[in-house]
Subunit: 371 residues, 2 copies
């Protein structure tokens, strides 16, 4: 056994129990000493790229979730992961044979972390194999695909969750708590600026076939989803404008920069920016009649920083993916209910807005929405 | 003579000379001791409301500009001002008789600080009376009116300036200097959030007849103008969305909240918010390939605060209206050229964008612009 990993796992699990879930009544010291003996979600990761690696590392500190399998098209990566994470040969699959996971009683769930365009067929195959699915954002390329995935998981009686790590992030949840408690008054405005300067032009994110789109699919979805969870309503209209300055790098169907605006039933409006051509834009601003919240970074891997009209936000700093997997294990294994949904239906709502943004950008029209 | 006023005038004038115009080579101490004996712009203020009062107070610290006359419809206000500012009876006018200012050799210029809808006829009357005109923002209700005002002033051979106080503000000018020096790289994005929660529903700003519009005319114009001077280009397209939550307070033709987006020839985009229903929104954000500038407050009366990728902006804190009147006197009397234009043509450019924003909000269409 890897003692360093066990050590980290122990202390981080207790840190989470102590700082993030104080309501459990588990005191820090006591938790460290008491080994976890509850149910564990045994997870296979599909797609061993950089984000898959990040999730795998973060899961080493989970108590309720454990990396037990891999699915990859690259045999050398599988070997590396087997060695690093003690994964038995029988839990390793490739993209041709992973339907056989159906017959593997040692895997409970598959976390799909592949290029966007592959999510739809892969999630449906995992569902048909009878395993729970966690799927990275965006869940699919459009709402129709998303709906089919939700349907397939329902039919197979497996849970479908979307990798909304921010829905568990403590600063974010504190802002949502304050909003729900009326501390900002009536919500009037949300601004989300999300973007980065994308590098290597040959990566899958810039390949229409694999990415399905451009910045909006990849990073703009944080502003879109953020508008919904920060305002706490679903938008009723959307307008959008696309700007492309580099037609070489951003080919047909791959959006470089999209501005979009959302209108909400309560009268609030949102103004968002999604871009692949600006350095590290990661800012949220929520404005109400009585107060505000500012977050920057707002959705990066952390630490998230922010302040409200009442002062600096001082929530615990967590590893997003550790907390996400811990909580998702709780949802799948214990039927826990998150404050902000992370299920397939939530993913479909984002996709409906995303569809409307692309339609608005193309047509120049204001698109009415009913989520 | 009012010795306190003279004292303040002396020290502030020298402070401006020393801190804001170091290139004049006038040392602080020397300037304090050497009385100003250059030309002075003798100004009458038209409209003695709260902003007129602010300008009058600020002008007490000017060396090149002096308040010498008033134009008002309220005799009691005229009396108060006469007493307070030592204004002779012969320099006092009302809205019926102010054309007679033509025959008054002791007034050089009139600063029009009246409700928006009145600017057009009043500026034209002042021009016909042969006096230079400074006109508050927005210069007029639309570009057509603005163009007529520019034409009238040209014909009368008088100067027409618009009250763009930010065009002289040191933090703002430093950001413009850095941008021009390439310190932010290629400019990609500007965001301007400008608004406040408007109070008294009976004020002229909420009266369509006097205001000509709503928040966009009054406060949104700062974001519009800011987008132009921060990016350093004129927009080529505009889109806009209007939202009204309070139809009682914001009647037909008086906009409560407008979001607008601008596209620029160099590929930059701007995302702006103009509102009468949110508390003190006063934020600018300029983003380039290599750096950024953030300002908050960005256009309020000050002190302006900001930071760039190189650190906090630490320009001198000035009284905006003092500096503006000092510089405008220099423009009118000495032909000085400001870094960012403040003439009538500049005002018309803003009005063309404003016209397009209203058109875009109404039609839902992207409006092409050529300024």
């Amino acid at each position: 056994m890897n003692s360093r990993r066990d050590f980290l796992q122990k202390i981080t699990a207790s840190a989470i129990a102590f700082t993030v879930f104080p309501h459990t009544g588990v005191a820090g010291k006591e938790a460290t000493e008491r080994p976890y003996d509850g149910p564990v979600l045994r997870v296979a990761i599909m797609g061993l790229g950089s984000y898959g690696t990040r999730v795998a590392e973060a899961m080493q500190s989970c108590k309720k979730a454990k990396l037990v399998g891999v699915i990859s098209g690259t045999p050398s990566k599988i070997k590396d992961w087997q060695q690093k994470y003690n994964i038995p040969e029988k839990n390793c699959y490739n993209y041709e044979n992973f339907d056989k996971i159906k017959d593997n009683p040692d895997i409970d769930a598959v976390y799909v972390i592949t290029p966007n365009a592959l999510h739809h067929p892969q999630v449906i195959r995992v569902a048909k194999a009878g395993k729970h699915v966690i799927c990275e954002k965006p869940m699919a390329l459009n709402a129709k695909e998303g709906q089919e995935m939700v349907g397939a998981c329902k039919k197979a009686n497996v849970k479908l969750l979307v990798g909304y790590r921010m829905h568990f992030e403590p600063h974010t949840l504190e802002v949502i708590r304050m909003r729900n408690a009326g501390e900002f008054g009536k919500i009037l405005f949300f601004q989300g600026l999300c973007g980065f300067r994308i590098g290597d032009p040959t990566q899958w994110r810039l390949n229409r076939q694999l990415a399905g789109g451009g910045s909006l699919m990849d990073i703009g979805i944080y502003a879109l989803n953020g508008a919904r969870y920060m305002i706490g309503e679903d938008p009723v209209w959307v307008t959008a404008q696309e700007t492309k300055t580099d037609h070489q790098k951003f080919k047909e169907g791959v959006d470089e920069t999209i501005q979009f605006q959302l209108g909400f039933p309560g009268g609030a409006v949102a103004s968002c920016l999604s871009t692949y051509s600006m350095n590290n834009l990661d800012k949220f601003f929520l404005n109400g009649e009585k107060g505000f919240a500012e977050m920057q970074p707002s959705t990066g891997y952390g630490p998230i920083k922010g302040r409200t009209n009442k002062g600096e936000l001082k929530q615990p700093i967590v590893v997003h993916q550790t907390l996400q997997m811990e909580e998702m294990a709780g949802i799948i294994l214990e039927g826990k209910q998150p404050v902000v949904p992370v299920d397939g239906e939530e993913g479909v709502r984002d996709l409906k807005v995303m569809d409307a943004i692309y339609e608005a950008a193309k047509s120049g029209k204001k698109i009415a929405l009913k989520l």
